[in-house]
Structures are given as structure tokens and as C-alpha cells.
Amino acid sequence: MFIEFFTGKFITIIGFTAAMLSAFAFYKAAQSEKITAVYDEWLLLGRRTFFVMQAAIVTIGVHLLYLILTHQFQYNYVKHYSDTTLNMFYLVSTFYAGQEGSFMLWMFYGSLFGLFLMRTAREYEAPVMSVLMLSQVFLISMILGIDVPFIGLIGSDPFAIAVGPAPMEGDGLNALLQNPWMVIHPPTLFVGFSSLIVPFSYAVAAMWKKKYDDWVKPAMPWILFSAATLGIGIMMGGYWAYKVLGWGGYWGWDPVENSSLVPWLLIVSLIHCVVVQKKNGGLKKTSLFFAVLSYSMVLYSAFLTRSGVLGDTSVHSFTDLGLYNQLVAYLLTFLLGGSVLLAVRFKSIPVSRANESMYSKEFFLLCGSVVLMMIALVIAAGTSTPLIDKLLGRATTKLEPEFYNKVTLPLAVLIGLFSAIGQLIWWKKIDKETLIKTFSLPVSAALVGTSVLVVAGMRDGSMIVLALTALFSAIANAQIFWKVIQGNPKFAGGSLTHVGLGLMLLGMIGSGKYSETQQIDLPIGQSVEAFGKQLKFTGIEPIDGGAKSGFKIEVTDGGKSFIAMPVMYENARMGTISNPAVEHYLTKDFYVAPQGLSGGITLAKDEVKLLGDYAVKFTGFNVPKDIDANSDKALRIGAFLEITKGGKMEKIEPVFVIEKNREPQMIPASMTGDGIKFMLSEIDATNKRIFITADGLQTLTIEASIKPFIGVLWLGTYIVAAGFALSIYRRWKERKIVKAIAA
């Protein structure tokens, strides 16, 4: 017990204290910059206490990981999220399965960023680090688990031990999450979330020191890094939902998804403002505003998903650990701290009047930022409905996903438009004469492309407009990219990212608006036509030694034929789990999600249906003439079936027996000299229909869909990621050049 205490809670308390000391020391250093001796002394203290906090975080992290890997189920956290059957890979992922562990991951990332900043931030080190350490103080407080008189319990201790004997087995990890994508999705998302503290800290440092221009240079690579990692994390989640969960889509406007998208939109707004500021010193206040708002939105998201306020409106929010007040305090400290500082400094921030013309390069970047912010705000407002209801004391309401699709559509059109026009004006020295010349090629190419789509069947007006602007953006930016890469490839990141954006918009139109879905019954061995393809369910293949079943479906599509194999399996904790099969075509995905396997067909009177190779016709019931409902005698109901196989017809009669106080019995019937037994499994008295099953003749129900252009969405995602990588490289190099000149 003694050792446990010294590697768990005790170390957490040391880390918490060290973080407070460090934040204070960096604050004092920042306040005494002019007196070198005092500054150095406080800075040294700040750094030393930082390392104490760093060591504490690593120690508790390693300790928790050790407890998980050695299955110490007496610890609540270990018991709730893991069990002995998980392999090493998934065991490690249970570390951040709960709130406490994910806070530990968050503070670990925070300390890594601190390490980087102490090496690279130079004159910004003291103010930036004091803000970052304040954030660390709040984060560590979330896992303290200390009962303070008059305040109550602060934090939830991940090392809490259950009373009584240690359980032999844990609860295990949600089977849906036992997937490689899901293992890397949360930590990637968290890198993005937590790294937003760095731009925030730089912005606060700028306002603190009243140096409004220099901060953007060192902050720029960080801003891009946050946007890239957060964006990749979000798309990983979407890819997982699409490819593994069989949800049929990649985005559902769930509160948890929305709350990761909102900070991302704001950080992208920030990128555009900072680009302008670096170019000509404009938009200083706007940049600071977005830097403050984006981290505040990260904290707001954390509050929404972790405080329990969303309640039942989200499919996946965290368990309420009673951190409500602490999360509110964390959010308000940063939101109000940042905004008040901005308000105080507002008048003293110089305004650059360099470019006010509408034809200026900067105008469209500002427009883009504002539109992105509007998207972010409307999503944030929609996601907050349960909170608003709670504050107003109303009954809980929720917005349908369709709301977000509709209201963001006009804004998406503007994004397409501005990203094309803005980029063209940015890269080409445009005056009124060259305007038409520059725009003619991308505009006409986009018009041609859109016409093709209209001919192919696009009829919805708003979709046509969005497709037009998305194509315009993709083509214009591709054109710019081609030019720029021949000159200086380092500068091509921006245009490449926007090419990806245009493609993503196109992919969203196709897969979001024009996907078709059909529920199809596939009796074994029979060809069924759907979407112009022949589908034939040929059998079940055991996977993972029989633990899972793969349903082999032969798909013939013109000349092409392939086997689609969706998978279903039973999991003790989660019930039936299914994984879809996805076949990629050049312009679309063919998506097969299994719904269930049953061994039968529903028949109305005189209806003929195929069950395997057997044509089954239901001609009528064989019911006893005088039914006495009160009789204790068994009631026998037969169904007259005419079964035809290989030109041979035979009449058989399977029977359904109902007897008081007994389970209904089924007496099967089969054709002479044939092994297949037909059973009358269900009688639908109201609709006069029967359900016939046969051993070895199963029917697979699938949900098949065609998702046009979804590949374009993923391609766009890769291109955006590549564009970001290029930009980060460029900005990081630039930062070094400045340093070399300064030194």
C-alpha cells in the first residue's frame, strides 16, 4: 500500500505543486525581464520545477500503464476498461479509455510541448511557459482526487482502489474500439487539442508584452501543426466509422464529433489571419481573437463532453465524474483571461491601414476566416442545445443532423468561392485588366465539369452551385500549385491544401447527397440484382478460428466480379458486431453492411418464393374446424406448401403446434429422399402470412449502398494533409532563418 501511494496520488500531488510553482516562477520571470539577474533566477526555478512536474507526469503514467499491463483489477480504472483477454496493443489503448487516463495523456502532451518551447521560444519562454503551466495546473487538478474542506472533492483519482477483494477479471474494452484505427484516433486527436495551448500562450504573451507582430512567426508552425493533427484525428474517426463500424457514413453531427470540429475551424481561421499579418501587418486583433477563441473552444468541448451536461443526447460522451465545476473554472479562466486581456489592450493595438481595397489579397482571406468562424459558431450553438435547455430550465431538445447540413451549405459555397478567388488574387498580380484572363480558365473548366455532373443526374440547385464552386476552387488551386511548384516547391503547401479542400467538398456532395441505400435479402445460392449488379450469397467462412463469420457474397458487375465479405460476430459485452465490406471503384464505393442472417422467407397465400434451389408456394392453412380456445388440447396448424426442385413438384405440410403452458413446437416436413427440412416458424395471423425456414438454406439480409465520389473525399483528405506537411516544413525553416539573422 505504501509503495502504491508513493507512485500514485502522492506523485500527482507533487506534480500539481511543482506545476503551480513553475507557473508562478515563469510569471515572475516574465514580469522582471528588464533585470537580467532576477529574470535568470526565476527562469531557472521555473525550468527546474517544470522538470519536477514532467517527472511526476511520467511516473504516474508509467505506474498506471504497469497496473494495466499486470491486470491489477483492484484498481477501479484498470477493472473498468481492461481485461485479461486483450492483447498488448489494445491493453495499452485502455490507458486513455477513461476520463482520468485521457487527462493524463493531455497533460503529458502539454509537458512535451513545454519541453520544446523551453528550447525554442527564447524571449517568449517566460510568458508562454507561464500560461502553459497554468493550463497544466488545471489538468493535473482533474486527477488529484483530494477532498478539500468547504470545496469538496477535487479531481478523480485514477489510482482509486475498490473496497473488498480484488476482482479476477476486468470489464474489458468495447469491442467496437478494438481496431487499430481506434487505437491511434484518440491520441492523434489529443495532440491536436492539447497543442492549441501553444498559439493561445503566444497570443497572451504578445498582449502581455505589447509586442503584437513578432509572435506570429514562432507561433505559425505550431498553429499549422495543431490544425494538421486535429484535422487528421477527426478524419481518422470518420474513416473508422465508415470502414469498420458500418455506420454507412463518416460524419453524423454528433455532439462529440462537432466539438472536435469547432476548434479546428477556428484554428484554420487563425491560419488565414496570421498569413495576412505576416504579409503586411494587418488583422492583428483578429489573429489574437482567434488564438484566444480556439483554445477556449477546446476547453468548451472538454466541458461539454466530460461534464455530463450532454447526457443522453450524445451516443458517446464520457461518464460524469463530478468534474463540472472544475471544468467550468478551467474554461472561464482561459476564456475570460484571454478576452479581458484583449479588451484591455484593444486600443493600444496598432491598426494597419495598408490595404482596404476589395481587390486586395487580404480581403478574401479575411472573408474566408469570417465564414469559417460562422460555421464554427453555428455548430457550437447547435451542439449546445442541451446546455441551453438546462440553463433555461426547459425539457431537453436536440437538433437533427439535417440542420447542420442545411445551414452550413451556403457557407460551404462561400468557402469554395473565396478559396478560389483569394488564392488567384494572392498569387497573381491582378489588376482589373488581367482579372478576366486569370479567371477564365478555372471558371470555364469548372462550368464544364459541373455540366458533366448535371448530365450525369445532378438536379438539386444548391448542390449544383456547391459543386461548381468546389470544382472552381480545386481547379484554380491546382493551376496555382502547378505554377508554384515549378518555382519554389516550399511555397506550394497552401495551394495544395486548397486543392484537397475542393476535392473534399466534392466528395461530401457525392457521398452525402447522392448515395443510394437498399435493404436486400440474399437467399443462399441465389442471384439477386441490385444497383445493376448480381449478388449471390455463397456461404459462410469462419474467421479467427470460427470466432467470427464472414459472409461470402459473389458480386458480378458487368465484366468485373469479386467477393465481398462483410463480417459479423458475437461479443459477450457488445452483442452482435458487424464490419462492412467496401469495394472501391474509381467514382464510387459499393458498401455492404450485414444486417442479419435468417433461415427463411415470408410468404403470403399463393405467393411463390425461392429458398435456395427450392421454389416454395404457400397454398393455404390446415386448421382444425372447431377451435376451442379454452381447450387444453394441443392446437395443430399446418401450412400447405408446394415445393418444386429440378422440375419435380411435391406437396408437403410442416406443422406448428400450440399447447397450453408449453413452448410452441415445430414439426418439419421434407420432400421424399431429400435432407432439407422445411419448418413453419411463424404465423402472422393479421396479414395472413407465414415464415418458412429450412435448415441449411439461409438468407442473409444486407444493407447495400452506392456511395459516389467518396474516394474523392479521402483523396482530398490525403492532399490536405500533404499540403499541411509542406506548409509546416516551410514555416519551421523560416523561423530558423529569422533566428540566424538575429544571432
Partner: protein, 131 residues
């Protein structure tokens, strides 16, 4: 009379932002769905969400294309839910279910069924605590 282009642009921007805000408010009204219990759902006959639990003891019908079960809401009222689709994944393991639809007579016609499972984000303990 000549207006400066800047004013025209400014006017257009303000007008379109207002139009968009109006559109957003309207769509908000169209797409907001409230949570209710079966009693209110039956009284209003409006599309709503009802949260509750599957009554395992009562009849659960799984046909190829319809799925029906009895559900008990937070107030303890039990109603038969009919869903014109296959049985949702993980239904048996759900700690609670949220159905979206309308209550007509004594049947709740579900448009959608949300199954709340013990997920990565939700420990077993918390689920049982909720029930």
C-alpha cells in the same frame, strides 16, 4: 445618383448575413426535437425522443423487416415500440435505448433507435448507476 461600390458590397454582405441568420433560425425550429416520456408523446403526437429501457420479459418480435419490443420509460410507463427495419446492432447489450418517433394509440412508431452501449467512454459502473 452613384453609390460607392464599397457601400453596395457592405449592404449585400449585411443583407445576406441577416438572410442566413433568418434561415438558420427557421431551420433550427424545423429540426429541433424534444425529449419526452410516453405520456407527453401520446398527448402531443409530435415527433420526439423517448429514453427508456428494453422490457426483456415481454414479447420481442424479430422479423426480417420489422422489429418490435416493449420499452419502459423513466416514468415507468410501458409501450410497444415498432421499428420498420431490422433489429439494431448491439440491441441486447444496450444499457438504455433512445427511440425517435411518434406515439399513436398504444404503439410507438420508431423512425430511429439509438442504442446506448457501455462504450469506451462509459464504464460499466456508471451504466448500472444510471439504471
Amino acid at each position: 445618383m452613384t453609390l460607392k461600390p464599397k457601400f453596395i458590397v457592405g449592404f449585400v454582405v449585411i443583407a445576406s448575413v441577416l438572410a442566413w441568420l433568418g434561415f438558420t433560425a427557421q431551420e433550427w425550429g424545423n429540426n429541433v426535437i424534444g425529449y419526452a416520456d410516453f405520456h407527453t408523446a401520446g398527448a402531443t403526437k409530435k415527433l420526439c425522443y423517448v429514453k427508456g429501457y428494453w422490457v426483456k420479459e415481454k414479447e420481442t418480435g424479430t422479423n426480417l423487416n420489422t422489429f418490435s419490443f416493449y420499452m419502459r420509460d423513466d416514468k415507468g410507463e410501458e409501450v410497444r415500440v415498432l421499428y420498420r427495419n431490422g433489429k439494431p446492432n448491439n440491441f441486447e447489450q444496450a444499457t438504455s435505448v433512445v427511440v425517435q418517433g411518434t406515439l399513436e394509440g398504444d404503439t410507438f412508431y420508431a423512425k430511429d433507435i439509438l442504442v446506448k452501449c457501455p462504450s469506451k467512454y462509459q464504464s460499466e459502473k456508471a451504466d448500472t448507476k444510471k439504471v
